[in-house]
């Protein structure tokens, strides 16, 4: 690992001041991704600003019924929080299907949003990867791309966003609060991650000197009937091939409210707007679920090894909605 200077920030103002004067600096949270990438030489900050002592560890109910989650809340603590388990069960489930218990005890909410892809070629410094080294090409296209994206990809990059938690959050219309020396801004999570286009190295709209301080969930009664379903190569401790975060509200046999987001298939946490549009007002039947799933996956592009994900994603959407309809949510 390249040597670096280490600073520990005691509060948010000193953290954002420190990064504003250190262009080669990075914030370090739980370290589950950044430390690994530093060891692999993919990340090489000159200065590491440890933010784990910042007082951003609360999960608070807001006056409007929403919930404010501090950026340094550990993934395991968020998943076990009773407010989240009862009101947003898809979020608890998504977190619990991610990584291992040890990693969830380390990983933070803010860090989870900023984790990098696990595309094999991004980690392999001998391979071409536009995300790691802009302009070098993409060895995943035509290479081992079984885990790569079928939605939102470009000819520059087909890397999948690896988070489970962010998939649930994007279904919930979460808002990310960020702070810098210029002040505070709030970014809807659906706009937070960028599609790769020709600049896959730029993954979010976050500026280099901005710190994520919180994630807010709006009040969303239909989220009480929600689930997260993850399809993967082994039953636990594996990244998603396909995952579905969904909430469903049905009255008189008609869909009156629906949220769907997909993981494992796209270059960013993928809100399934098209499937939601098809379903809203439609009869709550397998036929509607299938039509919605087909509409969402219509623009999907399969590569040499991941074409199967197109059908798998459609079936996972149908199965998740059917379970919500017949068995209710996970809470």
């Amino acid at each position: 690992m390249k040597t670096f200077a280490y600073l520990s920030a005691p509060d948010v103002p000193s953290a954002v001041r420190a990064i504003s004067t250190e262009p080669g600096a990075k914030f370090l949270g739980g370290g589950t991704n950044l430390v690994d990438l530093m060891r692999e030489g993919v990340e090489a900050p000159d200065t590491v600003i440890d933010i784990t002592r910042l007082p951003l560890t609360g999960v608070e109910e807001l006056p409007d019924g929403g919930v404010r989650i501090g950026a340094l809340v550990r993934n395991s603590h968020l998943a076990a929080n009773q407010l989240i388990r009862s009101r947003y069960p898809l979020l608890s489930q998504a977190i619990l299907t991610g990584a291992s218990a040890q990693l969830r005890n380390m990983a933070t909410v803010g860090g989870n949003l900023l984790q990098r892809t696990r595309c094999l070629y991004f980690y392999d410094s001998a391979a071409a990867c536009n995300k790691r080294e802009p302009g070098s090409g993409c060895d995943a296209i035509g290479g081992f791309n079984r885990g790569n994206a079928i939605l939102g990809a470009s000819e520059s990059c087909i890397a999948t966003h690896p988070s489970d938690m962010a998939v649930a959050l994007v279904a919930l219309d979460a808002v990310v609060e960020v702070e810098s020396v210029r002040g505070t801004r709030r970014i809807p999570l659906v706009d937070f991650h960028r599609l790769p286009g020709t600049t896959p190295q730029v993954e979010t709209v976050l500026e280099a000197d901005e710190l994520i301080t919180a994630v807010e969930l709006p009040p969303l009664p239909l989220a009480a009937t929600s689930r997260y379903r993850k399809v993967r190569d082994r039953a636990s401790y594996a990244f998603a091939l396909v995952s579905v975060a969904a909430a469903l509200e049905v009255e008189g046999g008609v869909v009156t409210g629906v949220r769907i987001a997909l993981g494992g298939v796209a270059t960013k946490p993928w809100r399934a707007h098209e499937a939601e549009r098809v379903l809203l007002g439609a009869p709550a039947t397998d036929e509607s679920f299938r039509r919605a799933a087909e509409a969402e996956l219509a623009p999907a592009v399969g590569r040499s090894q991941n074409e199967f994900k197109i059908e798998l994603a459609q079936r996972a959407i149908v199965a998740t909605l059917r379970t919500l309809l017949t068995e209710g949510g996970a809470a």
Binding site: T32, Q102, N105, M106
Partner: protein, 168 residues
């Protein structure tokens, strides 16, 4: 170099470390506590699991400087005065190991897992997420311990050991 206070198994030591040293390397190299093992060194195998303030983490992905002044427990700190920890005894009774390389991580992980379960935390296989008195079935144990790999495949003995201790 950074001066940090490491409190490991109840003993406080001052260590002067380069900030890129992992907690795992600090425990093994600086303090000579070689019970904690380095398997993959990338957070994939769980052999390096230790407890920080009672919670299990992968010490390979932890920079030691981040754990200044925290309470760390390694496998060397599990046993009482002259007596093995109940999980250690159960692992011996149930053949919860073959080569033993993953065992210290399995033990620390199981201690952390039992505390999480006791506190009412759910897992990915918990049927009703809001329930706080989930029965620690074999499925629950396997899911909650999935961050610890055993290349010898001693899983049946490991699960049996944990089940036995959880029930006692």
């Amino acid at each position: 170099m950074v001066d940090i206070r490491m409190r490991v198994n109840g003993v406080e030591e001052k260590v002067d470390l380069s900030p890129q040293v992992s907690l795992l390397d600090a425990l093994r190299g600086e303090l000579g506590l070689t019970g904690t093992k380095k398997g993959c060194d990338q957070g994939a195998c769980g052999a390096c699991t230790v407890l920080v303030d009672g919670e299990r983490i992968n010490s390979c992905l932890a920079l030691a400087v981040q754990y200044d002044d925290r309470d760390i427990t390694t496998v060397e700190g599990l046993a009482g005065e002259g007596e093995a920890h109940p999980l250690q005894k159960a692992f011996i009774r149930n053949d919860g190991l073959q080569c033993g390389y993953c065992t210290s991580g399995q033990l620390c992980s199981a201690v952390g897992m039992l505390a999480e379960h006791e506190a009412g935390a759910p897992s990915a296989v918990t049927e009703h997420l809001c329930a706080t008195d989930v029965e620690l079935s074999e499925d629950e144990i396997r899911e909650r311990m999935s961050g610890n790999l055993c290349r010898c495949g001693a899983y049946n003995g490991i699960v049996a050991s944990i089940k036995e201790v959880a029930a006692s």
